[in-house]
Subunit: 208 residues, 2 copies
DNA sequence: CTATCGATGACACCCAGTGTCAAGCAATGC
DNA sequence: GCATTGCTTGACACTGGGTGTCATCGATAG
């Protein structure tokens, strides 16, 4: 009975509702600021009930942060796909570049993402949630790095810290992302950030 | 009319109330877990009104996080006190060591702090606030580092990232802090963590 | 046509956090 | 002794985020 492509009609309906909610939320939050918008405002704009909102999103923060959630999974899977013999700094740089390159493809979408990034970085409550997410990604990266180097993650600080340094680099790029920056500029920022941490990434890999 | 040592009686009374509240809160939170304790539980234990609690602490998270707030300021002031010619990795290691050494002085106090650290790391909401604090410290450290190297903090990613690496090291130490670890063990963990990031800290300092 | 299942909205809660106001209480001035 | 001033407190009401529950509605399966 699957109407098409393995996704139920109900499934697609759910997705549609979530998108509607998310659009309304992002529009309001980006224009008025996080604290000045209540969930009631959002559901009023989207034309749904308050309860429905919380069936799709765990919290007001969640709407915003989950908009960038793919970033994290992309990074981890990309790292797993990098060749074994690649230096750690290069592999991590490619991994971090993955979601960024996706952003930079279409200027429309990129600008949308940039605004959300700004909103997150400028709103303490959102920033905190964002960091919480990053911690999860970091653990994923760390596990992958530990496997790469044949290290026991609980005994050596290297994997966790190397993953942390990659996150620092990502943060540095996002922090310096300015309106109108094209793909080339983003790549430049990424390279600069990784130039700082590369010595630690590649030095710590072997000696332990 | 100053009774003694420049502190008013009212001042000391305030401090006493805050301490009472904090003790009640930490005791309950550490035993039952963060979400299982309401502010009403805390004020009932401390024998005060709900409103009074929020006059002393901005939020339930605040009670816990502020218990460790001195850490951040200690780190920044210690970095500022390090000699100019000291390598960045050493200066930052000493700075991070400062609050840790303070902890390790009395085993009683150290254990109390360790329990709070565990509570924070294991509670997502607290962990998020903790990271938020760290970001403020990081900015302080970054400013100090920028001054040290004569860099413009807005143009170069190095100061922010170097400060971030110091925070990563601190996190690594706290994460691996086990019950009964003495000062020597903590110093060992700190050295291990800084051994990982040192190459990046000292390499990036000059070349820009 | 009917049973069923998932999505929805309405409603009642709980809890964190804030604004406001009146009462208590110390220190000071007359 | 008495009034004043300033600070702290508790009581109360209110906003807003988040959850549990239940009746309803619509689509689908039999």
């Amino acid at each position: 009975m699957a109407t098409r492509s393995e996704t139920t009609l109900a499934e697609r309906k759910r997705q549609l509702v979530a998108e509607e909610l998310r659009n309304a939320a992002l529009m309001l939050l980006a224009t008025r600021g996080f604290d000045a918008v209540t969930v009631d405002d959002i559901v009023a704009t989207a034309g749904m009930s308050r309860r429905t909102f919380f069936r799709y999103f765990a919290s007001k923060e969640d709407v915003v942060v989950r908009f960038l959630a793919d970033m994290g999974t992309d990074v981890v899977t990309e790292l797993a796909a990098r060749p074994e013999n690649e230096p750690t700094s290069v592999a991590l740089r490619r991994a971090i570049w993955r979601p960024l390159s996706g952003c930079a493809d279409q200027p429309n979408h990129a600008e949308r993402i940039r605004i959300v990034v700004r909103l997150i970085l400028d709103t303490p409550a959102l920033h905190a949630r964002w960091l919480e997410r990053q911690i999860q990604w970091r653990s994923g990266l760390a596990a992958e790095l530990a496997a790469r180097h044949g290290l026991d993650p609980s005994a050596h600080p290297y994997p966790q810290m190397a993953a942390g340094m990659a996150m620092l680099a990502l943060d540095a790029v996002l922090q310096q992302w300015r309106p109108g920056d094209d793909e080339h500029r983003l790549a430049e920022l990424t390279d600069q950030a990784f130039a700082v941490v590369a010595p630690a990434l590649d030095a710590g890999a072997d000696q332990r």
